[in-house]
Amino acid sequence: MQMIRIGFIALVMLALAVVPVVATAIDEPFYVSLFTRMLVLAIAASSLNLVLGYGGMVSFGHAAYLGLGSYVVGIGFYHAANDGMEWALNGWLHLALAIIIPGLVALLIGAISLRTRGVYFIMITLAFSQMLYYFFIGLERYGGDDGLSLWYLSDFGSVMDMNDDSQLYYLAYGLLVLVLFVLYRLVNSHFGMVVRGAKSNERRLMAVGFPTYRYRLVAFGISGAICGIAGFLMANQSEFVSTSEMHWVHSGDLIVMVVLGGMGTLFGPVLGAVGFLMLEQYLPELMEGVCHIIGGDRCGIAGEYWKMVFGPLLILIVLFARGGIDGLLQGKVGRNV
């Protein structure tokens, strides 16, 4: 079983590595776009996996960190275009701020949220993310509700060109691999052990002498910082920033991706992001197809209501396949995974 699992994951990572080449060969550039989104969400889901999968903290507010990361790019562009501050387009600056600012905000939000537990924690993280959502909607100058189109993307000079889809793709891929490697070291380190132990049994950890709050807080901050990287990539990929990315539904989507792929496993979020976007992309077509097969009429409509199937599908996953895709690969089925 282990071999199948490792093989599958390796295959996925390999396939992801060659997407631009294949897409160019078959002259379907759309796929580069689609898969870039998968990589971006894989990074975001990985960041959430740190606190949710490994740390047991159900954060329903990670869309905010995605949004903050992308607004770094958006705000930089705005001031470069309107106030002539050319340095505000610097790609390295964008990347650095997309890590630092969401990380700091996560520390602030975590500082308050982590003093609570269970149901409270979930709702508070949701509320704070809504707060940021409304705050950015109120910032009319950066697009507010309508969003901001980016005429210029993050500028990396002669090192790479964000306007080139393939280069952006490989930047995303490279960052994903880097993030996965960092997380790998993190979760197996002393620090990681405390965070994982706290998920398993926080009371126990405090009894042996760990002040668990501060470790969870740092984990939360790191999670926000990594999520910011995804936001930075997202802005460059869609060439657009808007508050709709910070809408709480996306926080829910991220949670789904983490659970779908397999919580608390390194590659789970990657599998989850790929799986989720594949479903989002192809479920409508699938439903149309099934509709034709069973001889229904007005099948064009069937595809439009894919979320009606997607919703219950989620419920079923929760009930029967909690270990996610990775769990299935390991031969684990059922609820107590």
Partner: protein, 251 residues
């Protein structure tokens, strides 16, 4: 002061119920002091206040020469007060070795180390394996805690408490749910720890109590109604009435 732990006038009330009623108790350094009492006597509440999970309404607790009454749970562990749980409370998805290693890690400075692998750190694994050996789990080190037998999990509980290098152990019914063989084994392990550590033992298993205790305190409705050597307690009429009941068995 040869007192490891001193409890003075401890009071804890939950609504109308007084769980701890002006309790006075002191534990001498190096002794095994057992606390017994019928159900509802307030033993769990007492442990809760000693460990810091419950805040007393009044009274003081002194340990290691300081007033720890309001001190946070993890800080008491740092001062050298370790506890084992009545209902097994180990990290179920970690191996036995990883469980103990984590307890060792807690007392080796801060854990803001983000890079090196913890599972192969000799500074953690060495002591962890020693403590596992002390409780007799050396050959079960790689087993996931949830797969251990109940008795083995209780042993793991003890190992984790020992791994924090305590001056004093609070054992909350270490024999809970154990059959006679497992209990006897646990008694042997605890006997070997006598003298090096101060132990406050809350237990129902009378054989274990009389085999281990240097002194016994009997708790009834949150008050200590008698404290003394085992033989004294066995023959105390108040204790008999309140706890040991009609049947005295072999005296």
């Amino acid at each position: 002061m040869s007192d490891a732990l001193t409890i003075e006038g401890l009071v804890k009330q939950f609504g109308g119920l007084t769980a701890t009623d002006h309790l006075f108790l002191s534990v001498t350094k190096g002794e095994v002091h057992a606390v017994i009492g019928p159900n509802g006597a307030g033993k769990t509440t007492l442990i809760g206040q000693l460990t810091g999970e419950i805040t007393p309404d009044a009274g003081t607790i002194r340990f290691a020469g300081r007033d720890v009454t309001g001190l946070a749970v993890h800080r008491r562990s740092m001062l050298g007060l370790a506890r084992s749980f009545q209902i097994t409370n180990v990290l179920a998805d970690f191996t036995a070795r990883a469980n103990v290693a984590l307890a060792v890690q807690a007392h080796q400075g801060h854990s803001f180390r983000f890079w090196r692998k913890a599972a192969t750190d000799p500074r953690l694994i060495g002591p962890a394996e020693e403590h596992l050996a002390t409780v007799g789990l050396a050959d079960r080190a790689d087993v996931t805690a949830s797969s251990l037998s109940h008795g083995e999990q209780r042993q793991l509980e003890l190992a984790m408490a020992l791994a924090t290098r305590p001056a004093m152990l609070l054992l909350d019914e270490p024999m809970a749910g154990m059959g006679p063989e497992d209990s006897a084994r646990m008694v042997e392990i605890l006997k070997r720890l006598k003298g090096d550590l101060t132990i406050l033992l809350v237990e129902h298993d009378m054989d274990a109590v009389f085999a281990l205790a240097d002194r016994i305190t009997v708790l009834v409705y949150g008050r200590a109604i008698a404290t003394g050597a085992p033989e004294q307690i066995r023959n105390d009429p108040d204790v008999r009435a309140a706890y040991l009941g009609e049947e005295t068995g072999d005296a």
